[in-house]
Amino acid sequence: MTQRFPKDGRFGEFGGKYIPETLVPAIEELEENYLKIKNDSSFKKELNYYLTEYAGRPTPLYYAKNLTEKLGGAKIYLKREDLLHGGAHKINNTLGQALLAKRMKKRRIIAETGAGQHGVATAMACACLGLTSEVYMGYKDTIRQKLNVYRMNLLGSKVHPVKSGSQTLKDAINEAIRDWITNVKDTYYLLGSAVGPHPYPVMVRDFQSVIGKEIIQQMKKINKKTPDTVIACVGGGSNAIGTFYPLVDSDAEIIGVEAAGKGLKTEYHSATLSEGSKGVLHGMMTYLLQDKEGQIKETHSISAGLDYPGVGPEHAFLKDANRVIYRSATDKEVIDAFLLLTRTEGIIPALESSHAIAEAIKIAKSKPKSETIVITLSGRGDKDVEVVEEYVKNIKNSI
């Protein structure tokens, strides 16, 4: 089931590299250099140093006793990626890629960002390692996540608001790719999710796999076996693939949760794997939300980080192979989950991660108390409190 480094960049029929010819030499250079550092002990040592001393790894696997008792079923554990520097799992990947860029002697880093978490994590890694960074962000996202724009500016990164198309993550990726085509010689594109042309989906997965590897070690200590169930939210799918990949060959039940927005029956969701069809976007063959002529649809989610019409190709593969179950949670279920975790455990989760919590709430009760569920809490929710306040106010007003 696991595909360590598919040579043609394909996970079954998904993945590949559908890119303008100008980028082909850059992608080949990246692949070559990634293969070089992948098993290089000095690189591993350097990355490990920054992950430990700078980012704060390993993160705890916290037993959510109150939530477990409240739900009255399987034991729930939270993989606390929200405690990492910057407040999300994104730093695992940005440190890895920024160190790679440095070895490739590329001094100018560009990135895209949705909610701003990847942009912030890129700005941090670049500030720390002495690289310059520029971040493309959909104009709409710069407004709903303006705090993150300010954080990036403070960290020395230049933010370019993108006003084309739907003015969200997908357009930010388009614009970053256009920049890369134009400045291909000296620029490194630091992609933030397990999407894009090969080798990005593999590389981002590998950098994020530290999440799943730690879960296995920590669970072994606690329970002498792998978890019975793991759950993670899926937008592009980087925290999810990092959680799932080391567990794909185990017996664990694996569940990815997409954003059902205002409901799968409406036009307002981002549930690509549940509702999408195969197609090509951003350099990869994968599932997409598209209309009957292959135009990409605008998506919706209460969480900007899941607001994306595509998904990482390895998720598309794992869905079709029936290894991972993909479900979804609506905005309302997500808010309820956000509030429940906040009140029972004193942990404010990101709205993205709250999708995974919503799924745990649905299934925990039906599972015996002897079983374990691990939820990857991919980020903290400070960035989301305004959105939640607004949502809760509107609901109160409409009652």
């Binding site: 559908y18 303008p20 010819e21 084309s164 085509i181 090509v280 976007l281 598209q290």
Partner: protein, 271 residues
Amino acid sequence: MSKTSRIQSKFLELDSKNEKALIAYTMVGYPNEKDTLTVIRGLIKGGADIIELGFPFSDPLADGLVIQNASTVSLDRGTNLAQFFRLVKKIRQESDIPLVLMTYTNILYHQNYEKFFKEIRDAGIDGVITPDMTIEESKEYLRAARKHSVDTIFLVSPNTDRKRLEKIIKMTTGFLYLVAVYGTTGVQNKIQQYTIDALKTTKKAANHKIPVGIGFGISTPEDAKRFIQQGADAVIVGSALIKLVEKTAPAKLENAVVSFTKKLKNTTKRG
């Protein structure tokens, strides 16, 4: 391909007259359905040798602002494939000019390559340009195109190495499309030495087996002339024409396009 395609015939015809080709790009559904035909009539009257019909895609990542904007306008006005086929039918009633479809992989893939290549061939399209299709991913795409005798025009870039250039040439029919600049469509710089070098390298690799067209950022007759002098078999003009359409009143559109096209076409005639 056993039968000579319209594109091949056109290059042979021009060759016999000691002329090079002007390839003109316009966006389907821009500025609207009716005036797309007006623009195309102007291009034909002005002397364009081949017409590239851009079909809009929601995420045109190889395009600069001008064509991005035209795509958005066109899609907002409801442009769809039915409209594209209507347009091709109308052009074919008036002209035998070679027609090339330029769009992104997902539009073709979504229709199913096999079905779509048959449909566009039947409608009278002679070739396709797909800027996000690499030779590595092109197996089924090529099979369907060959089966239905549609030319596959691949792009090469100034940073494409010799070995890859030769591979791409093997898979290309009609003409080879050299991207002049590091950048998206419409990016205008002073003509760079690296572009001239790339043109020479590409021509050498093509070895007269396939014509080499150059495009991206060619906006004036002076640019066109320079590339023809440096050995290009065709110059491709897109964003500059879209800009002209953008700023011209509908009543004056055809004449404005004819006049600009003539100026461009003159540069492709020797002597």
